[in-house]
């Protein structure tokens, strides 16, 4: 998904060094439509002016190794692994960040190039503390892959053994081990440019430089929203999620404990990638079997509580509208914001605290499920809530933070005890020796009834919005609606890529259904009202919408806006398998 270009009036916090000047020029140059003939390893190709050497080589099927380059991020040109030789130039050039502007003759694997790349990899290894067999990323590490590709069979310039930095495990979501960091700065660009949160930056200089936070504070003490997008883009094991699998195993092994797991749709769509499947193959029902074999006592579908969240949020919206339209209460916080993305919630807390009232008061599906399990479910199954252990499989690292928020225990018990990411659960299944792909399918356990299916689209962006609106419209009109947006007027918002806006006129009203009869006498106040809704995913987009609201723009007139912290919504969550790319995220949908 392309990063939106900053709109006027919204300042990006990205330092220019990490903003992509080259990419800016690229767009500019491509718009001019001029093509240039170049030769790469002797093959001629005509490319639009400004195309990078890396891109041009890719079109010819020539692979140039990269490390700091990432499709989702602006260019850095810092690792220098991608250097190539351009005829007539004294120095080698970084293919990822060299825009073609004249007919050049490029050689991608001359002896100079091979030696330089080899040296660079050797240098990276010389200061990289780590042994692959003890690393969480040993199957997906780009540094290890590069070393293999370049035939590294000894440490030419030594190999540091002693860690220089303390591991920062202060955050419930992200663990940082800077001893394994290769300073590719992808995490910095993710946090500053992609997410526009701005927690991470390069500190100090030379070989003392490291990736750090404001005043080098622990991650738990800074404005990190726990989105985990930095983890997904780190090429090494320097960033990982805070992993509670040992505690989960302990609970499973404890005969007194009744261990319940709920699985969200997005990890079910992606966990197959950890078992060698191409992205885009959901293994929901094989996963149910695997979880039972691992020892979980019950396996539930988060879709169930997603429905609850949607009804809560929908009814809350109707109540807010009533207060605003009928009671004329000007203090009602509209638009209402969704609250199911814990990264987004923390983002609002840090960056727009004056807007907290706009957040829906509904708990997220994960937490609602947990609360139900520790209360109603415990009651009907005659269990002591203290013996119930609730685990949630989520695509998300922020969910780990959410379940540890002190207020998330209204029943006196922690709603959710442990949040597992897709990657961590895959590891548990591997550890149990279970061959996920060969398992028979099995269904979910049925806690209190059946889910409707609207939760299934929860994971895609716009899903919450669509489901909540459908609920609202069904309640108000009494009609069954299959495809909501067939009824809506989806209006493209210019300059807001990755952000949607729609209008939905309510032309007829029905009787107030039983379910909400205690709250509403009639729907008259909604007659001929046009519901205005928005959807934004990725905090960079969220920020644009928030600034638009502040400036009194179109989104300030909205009634309801869905926000998700991760680009691409939960499918691109910070707990999903590595690597990530626009194509992989699209395939998961």
């Amino acid at each position: 998904m392309a990063k939106p270009t900053p709109t006027a009036g919204v300042s990006t916090r990205a330092p220019a060094s990490q903003r992509s000047r080259t990419a800016e020029m690229l767009q500019h140059a491509k718009a001019m439509g001029k093509t240039i003939e170049v030769a790469i390893d002797g093959s001629p190709i005509a490319v639009p002016l400004g195309t990078s050497i890396l891109e041009a080589a890719g079109q010819l099927g020539i692979r140039i190794p990269t490390l700091c380059y990432h499709e989702d991020l602006c260019l850095a040109g810092v690792c220098r692994v991608c250097v190539v030789e351009i005829e007539g130039q004294r120095t080698l050039q970084a293919a990822c960040s060299y825009p073609i502007s004249s007919p050049i003759n490029v050689k991608t694997h001359t002896s100079k190039v091979r030696r330089a790349r080899r040296h660079i990899i050797d240098l990276l290894l010389s200061s990289h503390v780590g042994e692959c067999y003890t690393c969480s990323r040993n199957q997906s590490c780009e540094l290890r892959e590069l070393a293999a590709e370049y035939g590294v069979d000894f440490f030419r310039f030594g190999h540091v053994q002693k860690p220089r930095y303390e591991i920062d495990a202060s955050s419930h979501a992200v663990v940082r081990d800077m001893n394994k960091c290769v300073l590719c700065r992808r995490c910095i660009r993710t946090c500053i440019d992609l997410q526009e949160v701005g927690v991470l930056e390069a500190l100090y200089r030379g070989n003392r430089s490291k990736v750090g936070t404001f005043l080098d504070r622990p991650l738990a003490d800074v404005v990190c929203i726990n989105c985990g997008q930095c983890i997904n883009r780190c090429p090494t094991g320097a960033l990982r999620a805070n992993d509670p699998t040992d505690e989960v195993w302990d609970a499973i092994d404890d005969p007194r404990k009744h261990v319940l797991i709920q699985t969200a749709p997005s990890p079910r769509a992606a966990i197959g990638e950890c078992f060698g499947l191409e992205p885009g193959h959901a293994v929901t029902f094989e996963l149910n079997t695997a979880l039972r074999r691992c020892g979980f006592d019950r396996v539930f579908d988060t879709d169930f509580s997603a429905d609850l969240t949607i009804i809560e949020e929908g009814v809350e919206l109707l109540l807010r509208l009533k207060r605003a339209l009928v009671d004329g209460d000007a203090s009602v916080a509209l638009p209402q914001f969704t609250s199911c993305s814990p990264g987004w919630v923390k983002y609002v807390e840090h960056f727009y605290p004056e807007r907290l009232a706009h957040l829906s008061s509904a708990k997220s599906p994960q937490q609602m499920f947990g609360a139900l399990l520790k209360t109603y479910y415990a009651q009907i199954n005659e269990l002591d809530p203290r013996d119930i252990v609730t685990v949630a499989l989520m695509p998300c690292s922020a969910k780990k933070f959410e379940c540890n928020r002190p207020e998330m225990c209204a029943s006196g018990h922690k709603d959710i005890d442990y949040g597992l990411t897709t990657r961590e659960l895959a590891k548990m299944i591997h550890e149990a020796g279970i061959d996920l792909l060969k398992l028979p399918k099995s269904g979910f356990d049925d806690p209190f009834g059946t889910a409707t299916g609207s939760g299934v689209i929860f994971g895609a962006t716009g899903g919450v919005m669509e489901a909540a609106l459908r609920t609202v419209v069904e309640l108000v009109t009494g009609l069954k609606i299959e495809k909501l947006f067939d009824h809506a007027d989806v209006i493209p918002v210019r300059g807001f890529e990755g952000i949607r806006y729609a209008e939905l006129p309510i032309s007829q009203i029905g009787p107030v259904p039983e379910l909400v009869a205690h709250l509403f006498d009639n729907w008259d106040f909604l007659k001929d009202v046009t519901l205005k809704v928005g959807v934004a995913h990725g905090t960079a987009n969220a920020k644009r919408v928030m600034e638009d609201i502040k400036a009194g723009g179109r989104f300030s007139q909205c009634h309801f806006i869905e926000f998700m912290a991760c680009p691409g919504g939960c499918l691109g969550g910070g707990g999903q398998p590595s690597p990530t790319s626009p194509a992989i995220r699209a395939a998961r949908a």
């Binding site: 060094s17 000047r21 120095t91 970084a94 502007s101 990276l124 010389s126 030594g158």
Partner: protein, 387 residues
């Protein structure tokens, strides 16, 4: 010094008397090349900035003077500040800029008051501000911006990052400052001395400038001479002068080696003293450091490497990780436990740094190491770790 012989204001008067293209042509005819070290033809840089599209253009004077052993810009700014500003104004005429910035090295903060006073006087005399010298529509002003004590911020793109309030790190090039410079606008960055010579050329003509120097390195240049010689200081000498001639001038005839171009430059051994100091032979931004017969060349290389390790911005791998490996190599040589194979490997690593580093700092960081290993092999091998 030549600068003292130039009538104040003559250069600007001459520039304003002709169309901008003529100003460029005159600089071009003089063959003036940048005095900051890289020796890029000044007229070409200005011409590219002039042709680059943009309503806001900037003239930046690089007064970061961070190269070890250079102090000539300090002297120019102290004694000939008017001339530097006049040169910037001429550049503004040539490229069509309205804004000028002097990026002043943090250690030169004491010069700031003086520079501001000179700027103020120029404004009062209509040499800066609006309708300069009565020319309708020619507006140009200069502000002074302080550096924060980083050598790499002398590199022009890092300098611009620093001006923009960012971490001082070199950018990817291309694009170059002449089209995407300060705040994304066309910008020319030139050395203090380059601006001063531009004034001389406009005042006295291209032929006058070309009468000295070599064909490819025309004119004079200021040299900052330090180290083991009897008369250290700033010298105004023609380019093309041989190392031996220069040593005779400064009283360093018995030198064992001369570092030309500062830490980023080359270490010239005695047998090469007949070579000329010029862009086509031994280029320099003006730093000359003389090493007498008693100097330990391994310590010299060590000293420079420590400097680069300290000053590297740390963004790219070859420079950040390479320089410390070379330093370790020096320590091994000192202890006498560096094998010849490893020494060769380190030299090869040095070449990689020259080829693959992102900016001039990393590209030049290994050069002293390489020249010492090449030229003083006998001296550095066979040590046992003593003094």
């Amino acid at each position: 010094m030549t600068f003292g012989e130039i009538e104040p204001g003559a250069g600007l008067k001459s520039a304003l008397a002709r169309p901008p293209a003529d100003v460029l042509a005159r600089i071009d005819a003089s063959g003036l090349r940048g005095r900051g070290g890289a020796g890029f033809p000044t007229s070409l840089k200005w011409e590219l900035a002039q042709k680059s599209k943009g309503d806001k253009k900037y003239v930046i004077c690089n007064a970061d003077e961070g190269e070890p052993g250079t102090f000539k810009d300090r002297v120019i700014l102290g004694d000939f500040a008017d001339m530097v500003f006049e040169g910037m104004t001429i550049a503004a005429v040539a490229i069509g800029a309205r804004h000028g910035i002097v990026y002043l090295r943090a250690e030169y903060t004491y010069l700031r008051g003086h520079l501001e006073a000179v700027l103020q006087r120029r404004r009062e005399n209509n040499l800066l501000g609006e309708n300069i010298c009565g020319r309708e529509g020619f507006d140009f002003d200069i502000e002074v911006h302080m550096g924060a004590g980083s050598y790499v911020c002398g590199e022009e793109t890092a300098l611009i990052e620093s001006l923009e309030g960012q971490r001082g790190e070199p950018r990817n090039r291309p694009p170059f400052p002449i089209d995407t410079g300060y705040l994304g606008n066309p910008t020319t960055v030139n050395n203090v001395e380059t601006f001063a010579w531009a004034v001389c050329i406009l005042a006295k003509g291209a032929d006058w400038f070309k009468r000295l120097g070599t064909e490819k390195s025309t004119g004079h240049k200021l040299f900052s001479v330090s180290g083991d010689c009897r008369r250290p200081g700033v010298y105004d000498l023609p380019l093309g002068i041989t190392v031996a001639e220069l040593l005779a001038e400064v009283g360093g005839e018995d030198a064992k080696a001369v570092q030309v171009g500062g830490a980023a430059g080359q270490c010239i051994p005695r047998r090469d003293f007949q070579r000329g100091i010029a862009y086509e032979d031994i280029p320099t931004g003006g730093s000359i450091i003389v090493f007498g017969p008693g100097r330990d060349m391994l310590r010299v290389a060590k000293n420079f490497l420590e400097f680069f390790i300290d000053e590297s911005c740390g963004q790219c791998t070859p420079c950040r990780e390479g320089a410390p490996r070379l330093l370790e190599g020096i320590e091994m040589l000192h202890r006498g436990d560096c094998s010849m194979t490893y020494l060769d490997e380190l030299c090869s690593l040095g070449e990689t740094m020259q080829l693959a580093s992102k900016c001039g700092l990393g590209q030049t960081a290994p050069s002293t190491f390489l020249s010492v290993v090449q030229n003083f092999r006998d001296e550095i091998l066979g040590r046992t770790g003593g003094n």
